[in-house]
Amino acid sequence: MITLLILIPLIGAVAVTALPRNCSRPLALLFTLASAIATCLLWFRFNPGLGGLQLIERHAWIPAVGAEYFTGIDGISLLFLLLTSIIIPFALLAERRERSFCALMLVLQSALYGTFTAQNFILWFLFYEMSLLPAFLLIRMGGGAYSSRSATKFFVYTFLGSAAMLLGFLAIYLSKGTFDFVKLAQLAPKGLVSGPIAWVVFISICFGLAVKVPLFPFHTWLPDAYTSAPTGVSMVLTGILSKMGVYGFARLVLPLFPQELKIAGPWLLALAVCSIVFAALAAWAQTDLKRMIAYLSVSHLGYCMLGFFAVASGSSHSAIDINAALSGVFMQVFNHGITAAALFYFAGLLEKRFGLRGVDDFGGLMQRAPVFCAFMSLAMFSSLGLPGLNGFIGEFLIFKGSFTLAALASSVAALGLLFTAVALLRAMQALFSGPLVESKSPFPELTARELAVIAPISILMLWIGITPQFLFNIFNSSVVQMSRLFS
């Protein structure tokens, strides 16, 4: 079943490449639809009451180096799978491009499914790296003056991170003789590697994932990459690719390094707070809309890291707080994925209409295109964390949990909320109200096709904002199991 899910987009990529050019977009949409259906089937067959792995498939692969084809999902994996199945079609609909774009997008989708289901490090790493090359080529398609430079920066940065991670994991393999996540998690409480080398391993794995998330100060590749990539690609980058890092922390760092995290936690917590506050301040200072959203992404992912590290280093061991913080992190992952993708979609629409995307290049849009502005404000308010919309739940839970676990860090991080709000409100004001800017071209209203793309996403945002319980149900048992590690 999971293997099928991974294979569908891959077959789609081959089909898109092999068949004539004019049918590549419908074909790609068809295959993403098929994988969305497969994800839903997985969801039905998944029993949310159980905490452990389900729907396991395992086969021998390279026994000599401990590699095994081992896939399975728990609630956390399923959440990420669902997110992937939502964002990729959204991005494909948002960007009308030629064949290679569709094919690479499908390869990326397959790599993402693989990353979120693999339970053996080598297999996980295979998929993790498989996403790298399509992402690189997709960013390059932006075609702007800096796109190839930013694509290279993205690639080299991430590659360096994953090389470090690989070397770290080799050390674990040598001391424990397995790459299996489940077995390693069982062995972890006694320490996976002994002596000072344990720290080298811990730091290299954290570094590899921190680059991907990204965590301050390894975030510098992100604004460049997000800004120069085509809109559809930015949506995927921020919507899911950055979540691979978060997923990595949940799967590789929290269960495997409880002792190291206890000691290093406060430092990592400080980095997370820096991410939140500095990136929000940087977003405030941007004049380019896409750059602003990129920095906001860094800030929002900082909340996820705040939740994780507050749990890991927390002074209190109250299960309720830990549960709240962890659930908040995963809610935030899902909601930020949707919201940030929607924001990039709107930035892309603005750019398509005006050829510009500076915050100050527009003005008075509310008078010309009220429906457009209404939907865009919805996404912006969700990003700002307005109660009743999806963005609020994750942040609220993270803060609820982490205020008792790490009071000081959380108080400082709360400043980030303020700066985010200021940055977004400033942008809204400049875009929607104020005097009409004299423009060469008229500003058309949302077309029916654009409305059809954004309406389901907006409904989803409202729906999660009002009744988030259905999302909790997916990952609740897994989170309860995870929080036992720390309480």
Binding site: M130, V156, F159, L160, A164, L166, L167, I197
Partner: protein, 481 residues
């Protein structure tokens, strides 16, 4: 059966001299394909890959130390025979458009292939050495006659280095065989040489072999030779000939002198790791595409030497895996650079190529180059990763300190490969329309697909090779302290 790779290849080469021109390339293809088919059949049918099994043994010059025509194969030899076959077929397919003195060209090409099969299958050191030296002369002629840029210099430098390496091998080889009273590799590999002899014989012989494997700082012949050679020449040079050195180092030097190896392996590891990082850093600054690939070969061969130096089960197996993997990947890279790009654009200058929008002009070449680059960078799913991770596990056991340095080398490799990729195919900044050029021919597509399938197959299922390599490595003497 596997002996037929040698016979068929040499027979094909001789036939080429008498047949008319029109049949030349088809005959060459047939011969190379026969070699590949025979080696694949032997590779898949091997029952007990761990032991060196006799194939042919005919007395040759019995009065002088018992030299004989003695062929034997184990899993490692068969692996190397398969990569020789793959590269051979690829080389013929990518020389489909050679028109000048065609028969002669393919004759020399087949001699290189046949000689390489001979080296990988010999179980008599004298025979081994004959084949080893046999490869050098055709290589010189291929480069000097059909080569490009600076071919006389490149050919001469490569030949002198090879002969120098060969001489170094011979110095300890003769006294070793005389004192043991045999040239037979199976007998020699159980003979115990005095420690004092091993202490000097090992480094001299290893260095001799390592010259051909482009060990730093004796690697300089490789980039110049590779870039001067015709496409098929570069493919064979990188794909097979460099492996002859590494294979000799493993099969002869390390296996005959285990104690000597144990005392020198630290130095080998250091030279290898310098080679990995240094060559990758140099590749980052090259303008000529073939020089980039030439230096990348040096860097990848550094991984082979590093794997050997670990003296550790997985490390050494990884080295053999890397020999296979690099043979295929380097073949692909040179095929794209030399045949697909150079013969259409007549330039290899990266800055000139970046103006041409080659990804639109020849999309198949772009696709091939992306796959080859991914494999070369060690992206999981391709053979390069399977080899590097196996070597790194061995390295963690043997020299954990060197692991981060190897990591830096891998990152540098990614950087220069990406740079080459960007400039050569995706440098679409200029407003000029894509270059008008001939489409990719069927022969090129077949050759590229064959090699891509090989790297993907081994990358996804390295057990195929490891099952045959690991038992051989386990049987080797130097593993036991």
């Amino acid at each position: 059966m596997i002996a037929w790779t040698i016979y068929a290849t040499f027979a094909g080469a001789l036939l080429l001299l008498v047949l008319p021109r029109s049949a030349a390339r088809w005959l060459a293809l047939l011969t190379a394909a026969t070699g590949l088919a025979v080696s694949c059949a032997a590779f898949f049918n091997v029952t007990d890959p761990g032991t060196l099994k006799n194939i042919v043994q005919i007395p040759w010059i019995p009065s002088f130390g018992g030299m004989s025509f003695h062929l034997a194969a184990d899993g490692i030899s068969l692996t190397m025979a398969v990569v020789t076959g793959l590269t051979g077929v690829g080389a013929v397919l990518f020389s489909w458009n050679v028109h000048r003195r065609q028969n002669e060209f393919f004759f020399w090409l087949l001699l290189v292939i046949g000689g390489s099969y001979g080296v990988f299958l010999s179980a008599d050191l004298f025979l081994f050495f004959v084949f080893y030296e046999l490869v050098i002369i055709p290589k010189y002629l291929l480069i000097a006659t059909w080569g490009s840029t600076n071919k006389a210099y490149g050919a001469m430098k490569l030949t002198l280095y090879s002969f120098f390496g060969g001489a170094l091998v011979l110095i300890p080889l003769i006294p070793a065989c005389l004192s043991a009273g045999t040239f037979d590799l199976q007998l020699l590999s159980v003979h115990v040489f005095p420690l004092a002899f091993q202490a000097w014989a090992f480094p001299v012989m290893f260095l001799g072999f390592a010259v051909l494997a482009a060990i730093w700082p004796l690697h300089t012949w490789a980039p110049t030779g590779h870039s001067a050679a015709p496409t098929a020449g570069s493919m064979l040079l990188a794909g097979v000939v460099m492996k002859l050195g590494a294979y000799g180092a493993l099969r002869v030097a390390m296996n005959l002198f285990p104690q000597g190896f144990q005392s020198w392996r630290g130095l080998i590891a250091i030279l290898a790791i310098i080679g990995i990082c240094y060559a990758a850093a140099v590749a980052l600054r090259q303008r000529d595409l073939k020089f980039v690939i030439g230096y990348s070969s040096v860097s990848h061969m550094g991984f082979v030497l590093l794997g050997l130096a670990t003296a550790q089960r997985l490390g050494v197996s990884g080295a053999v895996l890397q020999m296979f993997s690099h043979g295929v990947i380097a073949g692909l890279l040179f095929a794209v650079a030399g045949r697909m790009i150079y013969e259409r654009t007549h330039t290899r200058d990266l800055f000139a190529l970046s103006e041409m929008k080659l990804n639109r002009a020849i999309p198949f070449a772009a696709f091939t180059f992306v796959v080859a680059s991914a494999a070369s960078m060690g992206i999981p799913g391709f053979s390069g990763f399977a080899a590097e991770i196996t070597i790194l596990i061995g390295l963690w056991h043997a020299y954990p300190v060197l692991v981060p340095v190897a990591g830096i080398g891998m990152a540098l490799t990614a950087a220069f490969t990406l740079r080459a990729l960007r400039f050569s195919f995706f440098g679409d900044k200029s407003p000029a329309p894509p270059l008008e050029c001939l489409p990719i021919t069927l022969a090129e597509k077949c050759g590229a697909s064959l090699l891509m399938a090989a790297t993907l197959a081994v990358g996804l299922y390295p057990k195929l090779l490891l099952d045959r390599i690991l038992p051989c490595v386990d049987a080797m003497r130097f593993l036991k302290p």
